[in-house]
């Protein structure tokens, strides 16, 4: 494959003397550079690109047109909940009072911001029937790690941190990683033929060394763990805690409350469920909510209200696991989620989940005659189809994924969960219209027919995008991890 440069970097576009703004000559005398120790003094050029505003604007607009994003087309990336993010969220987050607020501007200077955090926490706790929350974690995996540290602190307080955390083989890969990072041993159980946790297998490995069981509900196959109350009773029976990975909360809001079905701890992904940008547009935010008995262990500071109902940062929590994030978390993401929640209200949130489930099942009904479906349970807001039906033509899931780009769609999540060969994990979300879902289904059906009639076309795909099929193996084997700065910069 030859390299095709379709847009240079800003450094290569740089021309000496160009600038985006003309500043008056400074009337402040230049500082005495000798006060800076020699080894810390920059002698060479600073190396920043020099460009006019219009060049910068065109560069980034051009890059945005080369990429696929949710403002451009359907993005049914399973488990990621790539819903359309309303632009009003951005307007609120850009308000000077929020965007220009210094994180250390405390007391009367930041009352509004702390109130936003308090209200957001209260709304999130209300959705899941939990009692306390931290907004600090910067993403979902950070939330898992925080939640597990809280569980560890709880068990330590009771005299024994315990050893194991149990999780199903359909779990997100971040779950076992978080378990190891928090000092526990991951113990995996196999899913049954319906895609659900095998209760008997769980019963056999639960012990007084079990610190927690981590479940995603609905699980990564999109299927609701219908035995969750029985599981919760078994887990609590050995003194362990039940953790919910909230990645799939978009299926449940206003319908099922995790706290009411036995989950002691969970993390949210504001950047999935609550419509703040992610996938390069982040940053993320992964709040962790808990039931009362775990509240003392949450990271400091916790936003709570005083006797006058005024919110404040509570640092006086001796059992806290400590601070887990710079400042107070990704605050502007919280503002966006607050706006989203206030715009929808509780009725609206329920409708979000109902439409997410309906859209997913409609899409599945349209394509299920053409693709495989390994597990028999009825999925909710996402489903895991697979490309095994096309294997006889030499077509794998990656070929389907690449060909979808030719039809203007992003691919579903590929090759996950690991228990489904050739997986195409599809989550259209509630923000797609029937016309949009039909267009995607039509493309999927057309691709299945192309696989039989002209498999070579699929092997070559994508053919209409600015860059064609990448050599992913070469990219992984021969890593180029930084842009080589030319000598003359």
């Amino acid at each position: 494959m030859t390299t095709k440069i379709i847009e240079k970097t800003v450094f290569e576009l740089s021309r000496p003397g160009l600038t985006g703004a003309s500043l008056p000559t400074t009337d402040v005398p230049e500082a005495d550079r000798s006060v800076i120790p020699g080894r810390m003094r920059r002698e060479g050029k600073i190396g920043l690109p020099e460009l006019a505003e219009v060049d910068v604007m065109r560069h980034f607009v051009k890059l945005s047109t080369l990429n696929h994003h949710v403002d451009k087309g359907l993005y049914p990336l399973g488990s990621c909940t790539m819903k359309y993010n309303p632009k009003v969220d951005e307007d609120a987050a850009a308000l000077t009072g929020f965007a220009s607020l210094h994180p250390f501007a405390l007391g009367g200077f930041s009352g509004g911001a702390v109130e936003v955090m308090a209200q957001l926490g209260e709304m999130l706790c209300g959705i899941v029937s939990h009692d306390a929350i931290t907004l600090q974690p910067a993403a979902g995996a950070h939330g898992e790690f925080t939640g597990l540290l809280v569980i560890r602190a709880y068990h330590e307080k009771n005299g024994n941190p315990r050893r194991d955390v149990i999780l199903p083989d359909s779990a997100h890969g971040t779950n076992p990683a978080s378990i190891v990072f928090s000092g526990y041993k991951p113990v995996q159980i196999k899913s049954g033929p319906d895609g659900l946790v095998d209760i008997d297998a769980l019963k056999n490995i639960l012990s007084t060394e079990t610190a927690a069981v981590m479940l995603t509900n609905p699980n990564t196959l999109g299927i609701f763990e219908r035995d969750v109350k029985e599981i919760a009773a078994m887990v609590h029976g050995v003194g362990a805690q039940l953790y919910m990975d909230g990645a799939n909360l978009n299926a449940l809001m206003g319908i099922v409350s995790p706290g009411d079905i036995g989950f002691d701890v969970m993390h949210f992904n504001l950047h999935k469920t609550f419509s703040t940008p992610h996938g390069g547009g982040g940053p993320g935010s992964g709040p962790v909510s808990v039931k009362e008995h775990l509240a003392p262990f949450l990271p400091v500071p916790v936003v709570v209200r005083d006797e006058n109902n005024e919110p404040f940062f509570d640092w006086d929590r001796p059992d806290s696991i400590g601070k887990i994030s710079g400042f107070w978390g990704n605050f502007l993401v919280m503002v966006k989620a607050w706006v989203y929640l206030r715009m929808l209200g509780s009725e609206g949130l329920r409708e979000v989940s109902e439409w997410a489930v309906l859209n997913s099942n409609y899409l599945l009904s349209r394509i299920q005659d053409y693709y495989g479906l390994k597990y028999s349970g009825t999925p909710m807001h996402e489903f895991v189809a697979d490309a095994t039906t096309l294997k006889e033509y030499g077509i794998r899931n990656i070929d389907v994924a690449k060909r979808l780009l030719d039809y203007g769609f992003h691919a579903p999540t590929m090759s996950f969960p690991l228990i489904v060969p050739d997986a195409l994990m599809t989550e259209p979300t509630e923000t797609e219209s029937k016309a949009s879902l039909d267009a995607f289904a039509d493309a999927m059906i057309k691709i299945a027919k192309e696989a039989a009639e002209n498999p070579e076309l699929l092997h070559r795909a994508p053919v209409t995008t600015p860059i064609g099929r990448l050599d992913e193996a070469k990219a992984a084997r021969t890593k180029v991890l930084r842009w080589p700065i030319p000598d003359d910069l």
Binding site: E472, A473, R477
Partner: protein
């Protein structure tokens, strides 16, 4: 492609036993399912490995998987070619793409492995 002279594991490793030395690799079916292999990390010479426990990892474009020791013993040789050319596993899984040689602790452990016929049934051939 499942050679008759080898023994197999349910985790898709093959074993060729000669005296008290076993040569180990992954099957053609395994390399096909993994796709392009980009990195192989194995236990070092002199280290002990235990039957059916992890002795390394194999990284393909889409996933990272454990490699399990089919038999217990001491690692006596590791295929150095894989460090620089892991794609050999895709090209020649039963030949130049071998992984590791183990000096066996207990030859009787072979009884825990499966036959070519059983392996064929496992992968639906």
């Amino acid at each position: 492609m499942v050679p008759d002279k080898l023994k197999y594991t349910k985790e898709h490793e093959w074993v060729d036993v000669d005296g008290d030395i076993a040569i180990v690799g992954i099957t053609d079916y395994a390399q096909g399912e993994l796709g392009d292999i980009v990195y192989v990390e194995l236990s070092n010479v002199g280290e002990k490995v235990t039957q059916f426990e992890s002795m390394g990892t194999i990284e393909a474009v889409k996933a990272v998987s454990d490699i399990y020791a089919p038999l217990s013993g001491e690692v006596v040789e590791v295929n150095a070619v894989l460090e620089t050319a892991p794609e050999v596993v895709n090209r020649d899984p039963y030949g130049d793409g071998w992984f590791i040689k183990i000096k066996l602790d207990d030859i009787a452990e072979i009884d825990n492995l499966i036959s070519p016929q059983e392996y064929k049934e496992l992968i639906g051939e």
